[in-house]
């Protein structure tokens, strides 16, 4: 067993350990409250923990399988996210072909470019080529009603659900001197610090949060955010051994990723508010959707990727 594989296994088992602790904690809290008392916060917490179980299992498994596993997992995540996003966007029958192209051509090609390591094309394919050509396909069908809204929203969906999501697996193809085949561990690092920051932001926000960041939009508070980012930096520093960043670098990278992720979460909340889908549970009952679950990771991924590429390759 290679060192990388051993590290992935260790991280997965470690995460399972944390999840066992979190699950036991939730069950104790649940047992302590009376039967007909309803505690929505505890329910939110428990459903989140449940979906993390799935997430750790899937990501751990994919990382162990290596590149193909990661590509398939995040390709599917992109597909699910794009489907959720495009269900809510403005569209007309004139967009049918361009939307079909988005699902069945743009999305797979982005992952093919990622898999082949064509980083140049990978970076410009959606912001340049899809951006220019998909509106042409829509325009050829000759329906001008709300045209700019339609093409802009489709492009936004692609940027979030495909472009940004694909930057998580793309971390694997970064070639960092002296880091060897361990780039795959950057995925684990990013997902773990951002998700832990989310959990701790949620926890501290409920405990000591007072000042809403965006009132009427998101329950996030500045106090929760600060605690979340600081915890992410501590966790990042503790995970420095799986990164090429060094302890201080790992803390900073974790802090930036967590910060971007939290503001990304507010952006997603704004989109949902605008479309009148208020509940997390509106997309997939009990769990929220893919975008809800991964919004912070999605926003953090391109920034994390670019920073790593700029400073460490």
């Amino acid at each position: 067993m290679s060192e990388t594989t051993a590290d992935i296994l260790l991280l997965t088992l470690g995460s399972f350990g944390i999840l066992i602790a979190l699950t036991v904690l939730g069950e104790i809290l649940r047992a302590r409250q009376s039967a007909h008392e309803n505690n929505p916060m505890l329910d939110t917490y428990m459903t989140r923990v449940q979906s993390w179980w799935g997430m750790v299992a899937f990501i751990g498994g994919a990382l162990l399988l290596g590149k193909p596993g990661v590509m398939v997992l995040f390709g599917f995540a992109s597909f699910a996210a794009l489907r959720e996003f495009l269900t809510l966007t403005t569209k007309a029958q004139a967009d049918h072909l361009s939307l079909a192209l988005a699902f069945f051509v743009v999305l797979p090609l982005q992952y093919v470019f990622m898999g082949l390591g064509w980083t140049g094309l990978f970076t410009v394919f959606i912001p340049v080529y899809a951006f220019l050509f998909l509106p042409m396909v829509s325009a050829l069908r000759g329906d001008p009603q709300r045209f700019l809204v339609r093409v802009a929203e489709t492009q936004w969906a692609l940027m979030i659900a495909v472009f940004s999501v694909s930057h998580v697996p793309a971390l694997m193809s970064l070639e960092i001197a002296g880091y060897g085949d361990r780039s795959v561990l950057l995925i684990a690092f990013l997902v773990m610090v951002v998700q832990c920051a989310d959990l701790l932001d949620f926890f501290f926000g409920r405990r000591i949060g007072r000042t809403r960041i965006a009132p009427g939009l998101s329950p996030k508070t500045w106090e929760g955010l600060l605690c979340g980012v600081l915890s992410a930096m501590v966790i990042g520093a503790m995970l420095a051994w799986i990164t090429p960043f060094g302890v201080l670098g790992a803390a900073l990278m974790a802090g930036v990723a967590a910060l971007v992720g939290m503001f990304g979460n507010i952006v997603v909340a704004a989109i949902k508010r605008d479309r009148g889908v208020k509940d997390w549970s509106h997309l997939i009952p009990g769990q929220g959707g893919f975008v809800d679950q991964l919004d912070s990771v999605i926003f953090a991924a391109p920034i994390f990727y670019q920073l790593t590429k700029y400073f460490y390759t």
């Binding site: 489907r83 403005t90 049918h96 479309r275 009148g276 889908v277 997309l283 997939i284 009952p285």
Partner: protein
């Protein structure tokens, strides 16, 4: 042989359900009722041939076993495949809409209700090919509500199917289809047919998911 056909029907049914989930990620929203076994008539909007399989797919197994879609005999008996899928996979209540036939559709439907089945019904009668959200309802829903007043009539909205597969397109888009179940309605004491049908249509329209354009 009968056993084999039943087995095949179950396999086909499961395949349709999995296929519907994979293509449209179809999901149920239980807004006005709980997914519990109770005799109900789910009345739904009808824009596509996929409406009925969608509703059927989101029902939990216990409810799916006791539900029978009301469907046109001329469509489901057209060829041998349909004659297998309609009556045996979906367990359709087939009604013959031709005027010269002796069995009146309502008698068949009431008979199914009296056997304890729940129904899926499209009160518009035909597929809605217009831009209006609903066509005027036929009298069937009202007659049913008068004849069996205890049965809950559930407004059931199937959303997004027209965007998944608009008329004249070949490739379906894998968007999320939502089936929303509203609060039950009944025919009120002394309510006229037109009043009730209008109220039923409004109750159905109220189930449309609010997505601001």
């Amino acid at each position: 042989m009968k056993f084999l056909r039943q087995f095949a029907a179950r396999i086909v049914g499961q395949s349709i359900r999995i296929f519907a989930r994979a293509i449209t990620a179809v999901r149920a929203e239980w807004k006005g009722i709980e997914p519990v076994p109770r005799q109900r008539v789910y009345f739904a909007n009808h824009t596509s041939n996929a409406d009925m399989p969608m509703i059927w797919s989101v029902l939990p197994p216990a409810l799916r076993r006791s539900v029978r879609p009301v469907a046109a005999a001329d469509y489901w008996l057209k060829n041998r495949l349909r004659a297998f899928v309609g009556p045996e996979v979906f367990n359709c209540v087939l009604v013959d809409r031709r005027p010269e036939v002796k069995d009146k559709p309502m008698d068949t439907i009431i008979a199914a209700l009296d056997e304890g089945a729940s129904l899926i019904l499209f009160p518009e009668g035909n597929r809605n090919m217009t831009d209006d959200p609903l066509l005027p309802f036929k009298a069937g829903l009202y007659n049913m509500g008068i004849a069996r007043p205890d049965v809950d009539l559930i407004p059931t909205w199937v959303a997004n199917l027209t965007e998944i597969m608009p008329k004249g397109e070949i490739i379906p888009l894998p968007l999320i289809c939502t089936v929303t179940f509203g609060e039950p309605i009944h025919v009120r004491e002394g309510e006229s047919k037109d009043d009730f049908l209008k109220r039923a249509a409004d109750a159905l329209l109220a189930q449309r998911p609010l997505v601001r354009p």
